[in-house]
């Protein structure tokens, strides 16, 4: 009897296949309040477990649904870097430009809510806009916001001067010169080596700008 019941159980489970395979589409996100209620006060833990749940699905066709999930999860634990990391490194790197743009916009929107903690995701978004979407105005907008709103001391030089390089790529040397000059004048560059490098870059830009003026 015991052996027969065990065999029947194993046969049933083997025959039914994996339950994970049956669910292929990410379900609609629950409301933030419902998610908070379900966390029973452990919102940071639920945020992380919910991220694992979301990333278990293939990137969905409906990015608004995915963004709803990511927004809910960030609402559960605003200090977690996980949702924006995955947004920038996974979901924004899909080949479909429309979906990528939606995700980049979401990253930008969330960055503005907490710039000092979320700047790295926007920096990656700016790089994606520049190199993958080849949308230099969009990349410049992100880079400009990155420079304007981020005040954290741990922001590296490459992120601070990203706008300058993008303007250079757009061949807007005069604008790049002004931005770089403003960055140096703002007093936010405290490292002597960084400041020396930026001054050299500024001189180079001024020289190129003059040469462009002669042509």
């Amino acid at each position: 009897m015991l052996a027969a019941a065990l065999a029947a159980q194993l046969a049933m489970r083997t025959g039914s296949g994996s339950s994970a395979a049956a669910v292929v589409e990410l379900p609609p996100p629950p409301s933030p309040q419902a998610l908070r209620l379900a966390s029973f006060g452990e919102s940071a833990t639920l945020a992380r477990v919910a991220m694992l749940y979301v990333q278990a699905f293939d990137p969905p066709r409906d990015y608004l649904r995915l963004i709803g999930w990511l927004r809910d999860i960030l609402d559960l634990d605003p200090r977690s870097q996980y949702p924006l990391f995955v947004a920038a490194r996974v979901y924004a790197e899909v080949p479909d430009p429309a979906r990528a743009r939606l995700m980049l916009d979401f990253i930008h929107e969330q960055y503005l809510l907490d710039p000092d903690r979320r700047w790295s995701s926007l920096a990656h978004a700016a790089l994606l806009a520049k190199h993958r979407l080849r949308d230099l105005p969009l990349a410049r907008r992100y880079a400009a916001d990155l420079q304007r709103h981020t005040t954290a001391a741990d922001v590296p030089l490459w992120a601070k001067q990203m706008e300058v390089f993008i303007l250079e790529d757009m061949n807007e040397l005069e604008a790049a010169r002004i931005v770089l000059g403003g960055l140096l004048a703002s007093g936010t560059i405290r490292d002597a080596d960084e400041e020396r490098f930026l001054r050299r870059k500024l001189e180079e830009l001024e020289q190129r700008s003059r040469q462009q003026g002669f042509k």
């Binding site: 309040q33 908070r36 209620l37 966390s39 029973f40 006060g41 452990e42 919102s43 940071a44 833990t45 992380r48 477990v49 694992l52 990333q55 278990a56 634990d77 200090r79 977690s80 870097q81 996980y82 990391f85 995955v86 490194r89 996974v90």
Partner: protein, 254 residues
Amino acid sequence: MPTAILARLVLIEARRGGLPWLTAAALALALVLAAFLSQVALTEARSLQLAVIAAVLRACAVFLVAVQVTASVMREVNDKGLELMLSLPLARASHYLGRFLGYSAMAAALAFVFALPLLAWAAPGAVALWGLSLALEGALVAAAALFFSMTLAQPVPAIAATAGLYLLARSMAAIQAIAAGPLVDASLPQQAARFCVDAVALLLPRLDAVTRSEWLLYGAPPGGAAFASAMGAVAIYIALLAAAGLFDFYRRNN
């Protein structure tokens, strides 16, 4: 020192009843689950492990305390050990508080054992606060389980009532937020519902404000005033449950 003797007996009963093995199993479960989940994490693997271990151990501690207290009281009642104890020249307050102190010491021991592995992931100060908070939370659950076991005298209703009180206390802040949400209309039934929710919240401890994983992930709350206030509120509720239990204990056996 009859109170201390009773407390010691409770601890001996817990040790002989297999609680150490269940504690070890809970630790193993938390560590294995965290290791598995961190394998699929794309970033923040350490904080994921820490958050999962802390949440699982907190739930296990509360479950073990509630079940142990209920089972212990039920055994005393069914074996007529309680009646034997009451026939001894011992104040009922000593009897009740001795058991409660024993269960609280058991909860503190569990909190200590469960906090130790977290030192591998979090700062000692944050772990100490978390462990202290879990010990107090465990004492509150012990007080609730003791009260419901003595009052209801049946294991299933006692465990259900303890679990209900605990889960409601942990989710009450979220329920209040839903009741007061911006999309809620200002109709009379809604206002009444909101009033009822607020009234129920007044009768519950703020368990969502204690033993928080955020302390381990992002550091202890600054200043210490919020922590002291949360701990104080839990201590007051423990005193309330103990007083209610004592009141019922005296009333029933007179």
